[in-house]
């Protein structure tokens, strides 16, 4: 057998997990460390099969803490790296996730969500980790979280996740769910040359001139890899531009603010939304992941009944599209937010709506997706008020 191609250009029927693995390979991922957990295991299985074909490395670690540690180590060796898990494993990763933000280490972490809390519903859908993804690690930080809604997007957004992580030097999260991970659908993989690939900014000047945490204008510092002769010191402690630890409040202020600002300032480049029927909408459905597909059906039913209902899908969940929601809040009557949790992203919608429009949650704690009629009933209530 010869080495296989990294980009499987063509039309396939893949489940979301397999599509995610293929997206990673197409994006240039050459290292995967993981620990089996339903419903994310197929990502590891696919990577175990495919990485050796493309000269990459797969390792099954002893747990999820070790998995993310190894991914961060591989990234510092200069290799694009990924891990994939579900709720319980995601919880275990939280400390190292913070290390990834603090040390500005590009990598991708996939969480194929299931019902929680705890071991919850191993094979059934949930969206209960949306706030953990935002706030789960300790301290202040900003993150980027993408929520795919189809097997195709498991491919596309995995490529995007690698690109954003390399562009902004941070761990990027993909928050999928059990349905999207396991649904088998048509996935089109474009020719290699049509796939946009972003690689981290590398420093190539003389060793004396390199300060590992001196940002450029975009607030992102150029990176080097271990073994390149720059002799860097990388620590999760608060550090100055040299990377040296410091306990000064000024250094903390400068560093932590920059880590947040590099996301805030670039939010327009990062945020991706999909919208339908917003122009004349009196009610806007705000949803993501599998729930967005159900919500779309609810919109179709409402429109058929003559209701002016729009649909806004969060592709980027974090940073949250505050501007867009604020803007819509001035001209719609209500936002209806179906989620497979007891109210997480709906709080953000409500915060941004700030009383200018009603915000109505439609919530289930996972286990099964909504019936579109459930959402329709809530929409109808708005019009009857």
């Amino acid at each position: 057998m010869k080495r296989g191609p990294a980009v499987l250009t063509g039309v396939h029927f893949f489940n979301g997990d397999v599509a995610c693995a293929e997206g990673a390979l197409a994006a240039g991922c050459r290292f995967f460390a993981g620990y089996p957990i339903t419903p994310a295991t197929e990502i590891a299985e696919r990577m175990a099969e495919r990485l050796p074909e493309v000269g990459g490395t797969f390792i099954q670690m002893e747990d999820e803490i070790a998995s993310l540690s190894a991914v961060l180590g591989a990234s510092w060796a200069g290799v694009k790296a990924m891990t994939a898990t579900s709720g319980p494993g995601f919880s275990l990763m939280m400390e190292n996730l913070g290390f990834g933000y603090m040390t500005e280490t590009p990598c991708v972490i996939v969480n194929v969500q299931r019902g929680g809390p705890s071991t919850g519903l191993p094979t059934l859908v949930g969206q209960g980790d949306m706030m953990q993804a935002r706030w789960g690690s300790h301290g202040d930080y900003e993150t980027i979280v993408l929520a795919p809604s189809s097997a195709q997007e498991m491919f596309d957004l995995t490529v995007t996740a690698f690109n954003l992580s390399e562009r902004y030097r941070l761990p990027v999260l993909i928050l999928s769910d059990a349905v999207i991970g396991h649904i088998t659908e048509r996935v089109i993989i474009p020719p290699e040359e049509e796939i946009t690939i972003v690689n981290r900014k590398k420093f190539t000047g003389p060793r004396e001139a390199y300060l590992p945490y001196l940002p450029e204008e975009d607030l992102v510092p150029p990176m080097v890899a271990a073994g390149e002769g720059y002799r860097v010191y990388i620590t999760g402690l608060t550090h100055d531009e040299r990377g040296y630890p410091s306990t000064s409040p000024e250094v903390q202020e400068r560093l932590v603010r920059r880590l947040a600002e590099k996301i805030w300032r670039n939010a327009r480049d990062i945020i991706r939304l999909e919208e339908r029927g917003i122009e004349d909408a009196e009610v806007v459905l705000v949803a993501y992941g599998i729930s967005a597909r159900v919500a779309y059906r609810a919109m179709e039913l409402a429109r058929a009944a003559g209701r002016r209902v729009g649909w806004l899908r969060l592709i980027t969940v974090w940073p949250f599209p505050e501007e867009r929601i604020r803007d819509l809040a001035t001209r719609v009557r209500a936002f209806v937010v179906p989620e497979l949790n007891l109210g997480q992203i709906v709080r953000e919608v409500e915060r941004c709506a700030a009383g200018r429009a009603r915000t109505i949650p439609v919530l289930r704690p996972g286990g099964a997706v909504h019936d579109p009629r459930e959402i329709l009933t809530v929409i109808e209530e708005v019009f009857h008020d």
């Binding site: 290292f31 002893e62 803490i65 070790a66 540690s69 180590g73 591989a74 073994g227 002799r231 860097v232």
Partner: protein
């Protein structure tokens, strides 16, 4: 007056001085031995990486003028695993404390040994959690006092030599910071060894361990190391456990050959793949590639 350059300056980040260690602490000696070992070993230093977790000992990663990674508590070994697998040309040294490596990181320690990853792990064993102020840890001897064993420790400690040997380490040795020459040699051997090597370095923690156990000053611990050590190369690792006030068995206990993780991986995959897992591509395949 200009300050004379210390011969080891090229190995140390002098601009980070003063270091955080207490007077009499043994970690500095262990660091110096590592630096001297590297100097004598003559490996290209640009390719040597030091990885640590959290603790007083873990600060070494930031004092040596090498690529250094000060990671999260207990996770130095899995971080090093990623570094090494992603770039096998790196010489990866993990330098951390006994609490870091054997308590919170204990699972990673045994699994890395089992895999026989080509890493060198240096474990500074000061019998205590130094950085957090002297709590007992997985190597604290029975009956020893610590801030969390105010009535004396009743948890049996790990014999790290037996633990890592049983898990599959190919090089297992123990020395003290009194045995400087031996320690340097052990570091050299461990780094040169292909596979998972582990060196335990017994070291005084005057602040967290000695004072609370009325064992005197650092120099008293050095005297103890000198007077109570017995070098027994090749001793059965299971029989070299440490008791408070007892004899310390030092030496090289394990030095054997076993395929590394990467060697086994290459060997296993070679049946399925040419390039990059076998060095020599068969002529048949080469011809095919030239044509295509």
């Amino acid at each position: 007056m200009t300050e004379a350059e210390h011969p080891l300056d090229q190995f140390l980040r002098a601009d980070r001085l003063p270091h955080i260690w207490c007077p009499g602490c043994g970690i500095g000696i262990a660091m110096r031995c590592l630096v001297l070992a590297l100097e004598e070993l003559g490996r290209p230093l640009d390719r040597v990486v030091v990885v640590s977790g959290i603790g007083c000992s873990a600060r070494v990663a930031g004092y040596v003028r090498l690529d250094g990674f000060h990671t999260t508590h207990g996770r130095a070994i899995p971080f090093a695993t990623g570094l090494k697998l992603a770039n096998p040309d790196l010489t990866v040294i993990v330098f951390s404390g006994d609490g870091d490596l054997a308590a919170i990181g204990g699972n990673h320690l045994i699994h890395a040994a089992r895999r026989n990853l080509d890493l060198t792990v240096i474990c500074v064993n000061n019998f205590i959690y130094g950085m957090t102020g002297g709590q007992f840890g997985p190597t604290t001897p029975l009956s020893a006092r610590s801030t969390t064993t105010p009535y004396g420790n009743f948890e049996p400690p790990f014999n790290l030599m037996a633990l890592v040997a049983a898990s599959g380490a190919v090089y297992v040795a123990r020395w003290t910071v009194f045995h400087v020459r031996r320690l340097i040699t052990a570091f050299q051997e461990a780094i040169a060894k292909k596979g998972f090597s582990f060196v335990e370095v017994l070291s005084p923690c005057p602040t967290g361990y000695l004072r609370r156990n009325k064992l005197g000053e650092a120099v008293d611990m050095m005297r103890y190391f000198k007077a109570n050590s017995e070098i027994r190369h090749g001793a059965d690792p299971a029989e070299v456990g440490i008791e408070m006030g007892g004899k310390l068995i030092l030496g090289k206990f394990v030095d054997l050959e076993r395929p590394t993780y990467q060697e086994r991986m290459r060997q296993q995959l070679a049946a399925f793949f040419v390039e990059p897992y076998v060095e020599k591509v068969s002529e048949e395949v080469e011809a095919e590639e030239v044509e295509s």
